[in-house]
Symmetry: C2
Subunit: 194 residues, 2 copies
């Protein structure tokens, strides 16, 4: 039997990571999130903090600076190297075993894989703001400003490497509003669908 | 206890209507779709065919002609009258009883109602094309052309009256790909969530 994969794409602060972990625990399969970071770090030689920041987010600033910052004369950047490595690792994971993979464009990277449930988790700004303050504490920036910045950079990254629109309903088999439904119901729906 | 409503917004040919009906049957509550048309016809005096065409779709042609066709010197159209009537009827239904309401911007019209599950059903073009040929038979236009036209006009109608983007994931609590998941699973998920 071929491996069955669940990819979880999520808005920052929507609890997508928690939902992925809990669904995986319920199903008795591994969930790759921080573990994916470890693998990419090991293979690439980059530090984990650098990867966390550059494997899902475009750099800040304007679109032009985002798209071209840190590129050499051939138009190649460290972020492109990271993309190749995470692409390869995600493909290998999906070959190896059934699992949940959180973020990192896994939905796109595994788009041709038949047995892959593509999930998108979103929530309104209020619930996400509340959640990130609980999870990551207060900062000098307002939580809503932090969320908008993260969303914008994640969307830009996704668009740059996949040529698709991040959060477009058509890219996912199921999209869930975790703010309205709550974490437990999302976990339940995803595990039942598996 | 307040009434609990499910609104089903759907891409043409995605089976959203069938999903709405089956979920309602499972839950033992009424489903308003053709029945809504009847009510609007009775109250407005318009023929049902006219309503079916004008209560969810912008007219064909360019955006300008869509937005302004058939408007009197005050910028008012028959479609605006229909909008007011369907707005009123949908609000009344939601006050009266728990039910499923298919289409007709009910998600927007009931956006301030607390106990309302907003569902969006979509599917890839292939599955929808197959479905509309099965349901409505062959026509001179290709099924994909028909779908694209319907989608475009439905989106334009929605945007015109709600000032929101039709099919934007953030407008719904749950979005389901009926082409991938199948009708039965969608019915099952919705009824369980209720």
């Amino acid at each position: 039997m071929s491996n069955r994969i669940i990819t979880i794409s999520r808005e920052f602060g929507s609890g997508g990571r928690t939902i992925g972990k809990e669904a995986a625990a319920k199903l008795g399969i591994p969930c790759y999130d921080a573990e994916l970071l470890e693998k990419i770090a090991k293979e690439s030689g980059f530090a984990k903090d650098y990867i966390a920041e550059h494997s899902e987010y475009a750099a800040g600033g304007s679109w032009i600076s985002r798209a071209f910052s840190g590129r050499d004369y051939q138009g190649h950047s460290y972020q492109d190297d990271l993309w190749s490595i995470q692409h390869k690792i995600i493909r290998e994971l999906a070959e190896k075993e059934s699992c949940v993979i959180v973020g990192r464009c896994a939905d796109y990277i595994l788009r041709d894989k038949a047995d892959c449930l593509r999930v998108f988790i979103h929530a309104d700004l209020e619930s996400r703001a509340k959640r990130i303050v609980e999870q990551y504490g207060e900062r000098s920036d307002s939580p809503k400003k932090r969320l908008k910045d993260k969303d914008k950079r994640r969307a830009a990254y996704y668009q740059f490497y996949t040529d698709m629109k991040w959060g477009d309903v058509h890219n996912y088999h199921i999209s869930l509003d975790s703010g309205e439904l709550g974490i437990d119901k999302c976990v339940d729906i995803i595990s039942r669908l598996y």
